[in-house]
């Protein structure tokens, strides 16, 4: 091993480090480590003066390796790598020792121990840095088109922002129309403005935007590649309707004899035909045949739609299409799913006729809904005299979802208002905590308080129709502990609305896996940083927006959508991006082809070369996790920058004071031979 010339710089970070760690002694001690030619301590290494200090020494003392002991590499590694590069030293020959977050800040009461630990971290870095090899970052070109998955309000906004900036966008939506949940609502809180009125124009705009290719009734099947260069395979399911001919006149569904419950758009409260357009303002306007319920597809006869279609657009033979697109960035806006209240049987949904889910009630209040906006019981005619609204159904409940669904309180207030507006029923609102955190929300709550809604604080135990006391017969009884008066109460009502929580899409985990991003146990996608980067994911080039990242309301989804668009636009205008060259490499000369590593790679970057009988890593696909490196039983896979040698050396370094020889002897691989 050639003699490296290592420079070490210990940062005071004002008092942040120096207040606890004796930086001078660390730096003095470090000076005596093998191959360390200079060791300094300085007030603020990240300051321009601190950086110049490093650059100067590299030039004048001919340093071949640099260690800075300061804060977390996630903070300033890029800073000092750049400094090294400016002085002509390969930036990957730099190593950072974290003596702030990992030492001074966490051991404020034990200065000696903190100082010892700092020495250990520095010694580890000094040993490790000498084993590092120079690397060159990969440059990836950013393809211009962007893929947006999910045509809800968040996805629509991402698409519009990018398209308006003049770049091509593919908008993929699973359902026959874009619009998402917002299209199901009648009013939006707290302003109570008409949901359709504000959403429809946006749907229309994105649907007719020259830069937007809309792929509805379609799903992503495969994603390959990396930031800037994703190849995506999409299945465009057959509508059985030729959209070139269809005018959306509606003749077909008005003639369709098959009537089924619409569990998607009408939330199960209404019916639709087998060939249908989800809702009047649907974009695109074309209908789709649901072959499950279509009499022709089930029984082989009918074809009513085809007979009556004036343009002959119905095409029973139409097949799914598969298209492959090349995009530079991907934004996931796959939204949420409503908690299925039947999972809490004691609340009676699915058992007791007059227990409704929040989405059912949204449809009920919607002028174009199954009841034309009338608030009625399950019989479809009787107006309720009393209505109970139950919060946190499937939210803030360790049996189902620990998280708060964020929107239910406001939606419940909206419902309370609408019931008051449309009926003269008494409204009882059962809440745990009233969470009205955004602009004008608390004001809306005040307004409801004055409208005479009865707010009862307590989690409901059960909803039952087992009458016990006089006046309960024929009613739904809400059993609850009123925590403000500290009493059990039984409140008989005609109608119960369950404010079901927001859950991730049931296939969220598969989606996350498909796109190679992280996903919480619950199924919400994981952002790169919970505070500072809630838009990017850990996978470069893949961003998230809207409720797929966590329960959120419309304004927040719209904002996050715009933010995601901004991030994508930044990359597009850069045109290219540097990718860390941390990759695995197989020494084919020495690979014995045991194929242990073959199916370990989450990115299938390892291919087996049959004729040579060896495995090979495709650097374009490899993301450098190193799991194959650790698995290789013949140790012929090397993980760049986290090499076997560098980590073994670092272990010896951090244990300098524990090792028999006080950590002075340096041996990288072979065991020492017993001295004679």
């Amino acid at each position: 091993m050639t003699e490296e010339r290592v420079g070490v710089y210990v940062c005071h970070c004002g008092h942040n480090i120096a207040g606890t760690v004796d930086v001078e002694s660390v730096s003095r001690w470090t000076a005596d480590l093998p191959n360390v030619v200079v060791s300094r301590d300085y007030k603020f290494m990240c300051s321009s003066l601190g950086q110049e200090l490093v650059e100067k020494d590299i030039k004048e003392l001919g340093l071949t390796r640099v260690v800075v002991a300061a804060c977390s590499p996630h903070m300033h590694e890029p800073t000092f790598r750049k400094a090294c590069a400016r002085a002509g030293l390969n930036p990957y020959l730099f190593e950072m020792a974290n003596i702030r977050e990992h030492a001074s800040w966490v051991h404020p009461y034990d200065k000696d121990a903190a100082t010892d630990k700092a020495k250990a971290e520095v010694a580890g870095a000094v040993r490790r840095v000498q084993e590092l090899k120079p690397l060159e970052p990969f440059i990836a070109q950013i393809a211009e088109p962007t893929l947006v998955v999910g045509g809800g309000i968040a996805g629509i906004n991402v698409a519009l922002e990018i398209a308006n900036a003049g770049h091509p966008v593919y908008l993929v939506e699973r359902e026959p129309s874009i619009g998402g949940h917002m299209a199901q609502f009648d009013k939006t809180f707290p302003t109570l403005d008409c949901s359709a009125c504000i959403l429809t124009p946006k749907m229309f705009e994105v649907g007719n935007h020259p830069n937007v290719t809309m792929l509805t009734y379609s799903e992503v099947e495969e994603v390959k590649g990396y930031v800037g260069n994703f190849d995506v395979r999409i299945r465009k399911r057959a509508r059985k309707v030729n959209t070139d001919l269809c005018t959306g006149c509606g003749e077909c569904w008005s003639r369709c004899p098959a009537k089924v419950v619409d569990t998607v758009y009408e939330a199960g409260l209404g019916y639709r035909t087998a060939i249908y357009r989800p809702f009047p303002q649907a974009v695109p306007k074309y209908p789709v045949i649901d072959t499950e319920s279509c009499i022709y597809f089930q029984k082989g006869t009918c074809k009513a739609c085809q007979k009556f279609c004036p343009t002959g657009a119905i095409d029973f033979e139409q097949e799914d299409e598969i298209l492959t697109i090349h995009v530079g960035n991907i934004v996931l806006a796959t939204g949420f799913e409503l908690f299925d209240a039947r999972r809490i049987p004691q609340y009676g949904y699915g058992r007791l006729a007059n227990v409704f889910s929040s989405l059912e009630f949204e449809r009920m209040t919607n002028a174009s809904g199954p009841t034309n906006g009338k608030v009625v019981l399950r019989d479809g005619v009787t107006e309720p005299k009393s209505v109970a609204i139950i919060h946190c159904v499937g939210s803030r409940d360790k049996n189902y979802n620990p998280h708060c669904s964020a929107i239910c309180c406001m939606a419940a207030l909206k419902f309370a208002h609408l019931v008051k507006e449309k009926t003269d029923a008494e409204v009882y609102d059962f809440y745990i905590d009233m969470r009205t955190i955004s602009k004008d929300y608390e004001e809306f709550y005040d307004r409801l308080l004055n409208e005479g809604t009865h707010f009862i604080r307590g989690r409901v135990a059960e909803v039952t129709d087992a009458a016990r006391l006089p006046g309960e017969e024929g009613k739904l009884i809400v059993q609850v502990e009123d925590t403000l008066i500290g009493k059990q109460r039984r409140i008989p009502v005609d109608m119960v609305i369950l404010m079901s929580g927001l859950e991730p899409q049931r296939d969220a985990k598969e989606i996350a896996h498909l796109f190679g991003i992280g996903c919480s146990e619950a199924g919400f996608f994981i952002e790169r940083h919970p505070k500072l980067d809630p838009i990017a994911t850990m996978t470069d080039g893949i961003f998230i927006a809207g409720a797929c990242q966590g329960a959120k309301d419309i304004p927040t989804s719209v904002a996050q959508g715009a933010a995601a668009a901004a991030r994508v636009l930044a990359l597009i205008s850069q045109g290219e991006i540097e990718i860390e060259p941390i990759r695995a490499q197989i020494d084919e000369e020495r690979c014995s082809g045991c194929r242990i590593c073959n199916n370990l790679c989450p990115y299938s970057a390892i291919e087996y070369i049959e004729e040579k009988g060896v495995s090979r890593v495709n650097p374009a696909l490899c993301k450098g996790c190193g799991t194959c490196v650790a698995a290789c039983p013949s140790q012929v896979i090397e993980g760049q920058h986290f090499t076997f040698g560098s980590l073994m050396a670092q272990i010896e370094g951090v244990l300098w004071d524990r090792r028999p020889d006080g950590g002075t002897t340096v041996y990288t691989q072979a065991e020492p031979v017993a001295a004679e």
Binding site: S72, P73, H74, M75, N98, R100, E101, H102, A103, W105, V106, H107, P108, Y109, D110, D112, A113, A114, D116, K117, A120, E121, G124, K509, H513, G516, G518, C519, S520, E521, I526, H529, P530, M538, I582, L600, P602, K623, G624, C625, G626, T627, V629, A630, A631, G639, F642, F644, L647, M648, Q650, I651, E652, V654, L655, R658, R659, P660, A674
Partner: protein, 169 residues
């Protein structure tokens, strides 16, 4: 916490404290450790951490090396299952650690000395608890001092305890 006397757990510590080598994954647990610092949580100064990209990179050799070089324990921490930045590296770590711990048990290394845990980037508190808990576990077990075992291999003087036994045997 103020300076700790580890002899309360086990008198064998004398004037030194337990030393744990930590292998933290770049994406979750290392950031959790950063967050613990930013939040000014405190935990015993027993952990000396080494950053790896993913717990999937953890070659069991590193753990053995650390024990051999004088560590009293090794803590490996990664992202929660299902949250691995590389999708499944932490599952591989889970399996390797399971097999490693079984092997080490046969070599007389108590399983508590080699632990695996998870902490997401947002869980500085969990990181802190884990280090504190593990430190206590190891404090109770006492020093590992593998070198003593190694030195027993190479008795330089004929005045071996075993040999004296034999003499008076």
């Amino acid at each position: 916490m103020p300076e700790q006397d580890f002899n309360q757990y086990n008198p064998a510590w004398g004037d030194r404290h337990p030393v744990i080598v930590g292998f933290l994954c770049n994406w979750c647990s290392y950031r959790a450790a950063d967050l613990a610092g930013i939040s000014r949580f405190t935990y015993p100064a027993t952990l000396r951490d080494i950053r790896i990209m993913c717990t999937g990179r953890l070659d069991p050799t590193f753990v053995l090396k650390a024990l051999r070089e004088g560590a009293d324990g090794v803590l490996v921490m990664g992202c929660h299952p299902g949250q691995c930045h590389y999708e499944s590296g932490n599952y591989k770590a889970m399996r390797r650690m399971a097999l490693l711990r079984r092997t080490l048990a046969q070599l007389g290394v108590h399983p508590d000395r080699v632990q695996l845990g998870w902490a997401s980037a947002a869980q500085g508190n969990i990181f802190t608890e884990t280090v504190t808990r593990m430190t206590e576990a190891i404090a109770r077990l006492g020093p590992l001092q593998w070198n003593d075992t190694i030195n027993d291999l190479a008795p330089r003087t004929p005045a071996l305890p075993e040999m004296e036994e034999v003499a008076h045997g």
